[in-house]
């Protein structure tokens, strides 16, 4: 099924793109991560120009998170107050990200910066999550109750002034902490074309110490609005949002998201976290190798 993409200026196999979207969707529904960290690199690998890939992947993540937000919202799994603070930070971060993007682009280092960021982020978060989930699993197998967590949130969070009660998250912390987290997520969304979920979920768990049953829903809520901001930002600045590409990805991702959410209800959270950690590590490793291996094309050409 050949489909011509009007903005990317090339013909692609539509079924492959739908499949790619489905993969994103399953990850989205299952883990509350956008899955953009997988879509964007794969699209680029398929031959879609990087800017178009990042811009269109963002709008796909929007679609995949909508149904997720509804699904989790009905189960009371979204902390709207926390989500609101995160979104405010995220929109701020999108603006900062757009500025950084154009600076790096002028320097010709955007590709390297994106790859390095991916490797650092995926490597550190992947290993953190893998370590935590393996420890939990081993403890469960030995029949010992997992050691009670000594602290709810990172000690630095407690130092921030101004405290709010976030009932659903079970937290009494400064809103500045989630706001800063949102800014970081927004910057990453703009730069990497990702929803930022794979940063937000672990950060919510380990830095903010949110209760686990609202983490996925709240993360999806934040991703929903930050990807909307990113899509608009790209439409206005880079003109790189490809509706046809986005539509194909959406067809796959919205159905994948539903499937993912169902699997998520059956599977055990610890196993899920371990699987996500392994996927994250694998992608990170692949990108690290890509940085050190001699690339197929030493040259790249950019239209001025």
């Amino acid at each position: 099924m050949d489909v011509y993409l009007p903005i990317a200026n090339l013909a692609v196999n539509g079924l492959i793109i739908i499949g790619l979207g489905a993969l994103t969707g399953v990850l989205s529904g299952l883990f509350g991560v956008g899955g953009g960290f997988l879509t964007t690199p794969l699209l680029i690998f398929y031959g879609v120009p990087p800017t178009v890939a990042a811009a269109s992947a963002a709008s796909t993540v929007t679609g995949a998170s909508v149904s997720g937000v509804f699904a989790h919202g009905q189960r009371g799994g979204v902390d709207y107050q926390m989500g609101g603070v995160l979104v405010a930070g995220g929109v701020l971060g999108t603006g900062i990200g757009a500025v950084l993007f154009s600076i790096l682009q002028r320097l010709g280092q955007i590709d390297t910066a994106i790859n390095l960021l991916y490797v650092l982020m995926l490597g550190s978060i992947g290993s953190l999550m893998a370590k935590e989930s393996i420890e939990t699993m081993l403890a469960a197998r030995r029949g010992v109750a997992p050691p009670a967590r000594k602290r709810r949130h990172h000690p630095l969070v407690a130092l921030l002034p101004l405290r709010w009660r976030f009932y659903r998250s079970g937290l009494y912390i400064s809103p500045l902490a989630p706001l800063l987290l949102g800014v970081v997520g927004g910057i990453l969304t703009m730069l990497l074309g990702i929803g930022g979920g794979f940063i937000m979920v672990p950060a919510m768990l380990y830095i903010l110490g949110m209760s686990a049953n609202v983490v996925v829903g709240t993360s999806l809520f934040q991703i929903l609005f930050v990807t909307i901001a990113t899509t608009l930002m790209h439409a206005l600045t880079t003109h790189a949002v490809d509706l046809v590409l986005g539509f194909l990805l959406l067809v796959g991702s919205v159905s994948g998201a539903q499937l993912g959410a169902r699997i998520g209800q059956i599977a055990s959270p610890v196993t899920l976290r371990l699987i996500l950690a392994l996927i994250v590590l694998a992608v990170g490793l692949r990108m690290a190798l890509g940085l050190t291996w001699q690339p197929g094309d030493i040259f790249t050409v950019t239209v001025l």
Partner: protein
């Protein structure tokens, strides 16, 4: 002796008045619409004498199809501290977005390097007009890199078996346009070459345009960027919501 030679040359030239080429293209407009996966262009024509009769001599026919030129920056990666990063860059003021040359036999057997450079015949002879003056060896290195990159994308082609000439009068060349071509006006230039000298040339044009929905989407994204962005968001949200409702029923 010298006079004799000059006379001989003079008669030889009169006997072989430069031919004229009457070129045409199978499609003057290539329409890029949904399902476009590239197309093959047939560039054909006749070799005639100025009087309009059959030229009746063997000429080498070379056809060059060139897409709109744009200024580009070319970057070269180098390994720095174990990581491949863009280390060098150079600007070319006019890089054709598409370049294909078709001939019946290897170009180096048809023309010498100088002629090839003058008429831009062949991928090694492209004039990319570098913006900065750098030393020729470095220049050639960059040009080679650019050509091999574009070749890999199928946007630069050199086919030395793509031209046929029938009965010394009708020629035809086949050039394929991949799906990732830029829109714009393409020029197809046909050269008749004899004894390493270009004796005639003629130009025809091919326009690559987006039509229908594809054109609409591209125009929309540029002219009304905000509405376009909002529409993209609306589609995503609606599809996501609809899928949620649909699956809830299952």
């Amino acid at each position: 002796m010298r006079v004799l030679a000059a006379l001989l040359a003079f008669f030889a030239l009169i006997g072989a008045a430069d031919p004229i080429l009457v070129p045409d293209v199978s499609q003057h407009q290539v329409q890029v619409r949904q399902g476009f996966t590239g197309t093959q262009l047939l560039l054909f024509g006749a070799i005639l004498t100025p009087e309009g009769t059959r030229a009746g001599r063997d000429y080498d026919i070379v056809v060059v199809l060139e897409g709109p030129a744009r200024p580009v920056v070319l970057r070269e990666k180098e390994k720095v501290a174990g990581v491949w990063v863009n280390a060098h860059s150079t600007v070319f003021r006019s890089m054709p977005s598409f370049y294909a040359v078709a001939s019946a036999r290897p170009l180096r057997d048809i023309v010498d390097e100088r002629t090839a450079a003058i008429y831009e015949l062949g991928l090694d002879s492209l004039q990319l007009s570098p913006a900065a003056s750098i030393d020729p060896a470095q220049q050639a290195h960059y040009a080679q890199g650019l050509v091999s990159l574009m070749r890999g994308k199928g946007l630069y082609q050199q086919d030395e078996h793509a031209v046929t000439v029938k009965d010394q009068v009708l020629y035809q060349a086949r050039i394929s346009l991949p799906s990732n071509v830029q829109t714009g006006v393409y020029t197809a230039e046909t050269f008749a070459i004899r004894n390493g000298r270009v004796v005639a040339s003629a130009i025809s044009e091919v326009e690559v345009v987006k039509v229908g929905m594809e054109r609409g989407i591209e125009d929309f994204s540029r002219r009304r960027a905000l509405s376009y962005g909002l529409m993209a968001v609306a589609i995503s949200v609606l599809m996501g919501w609809a899928a949620g409702r649909l699956f809830a029923l299952v």
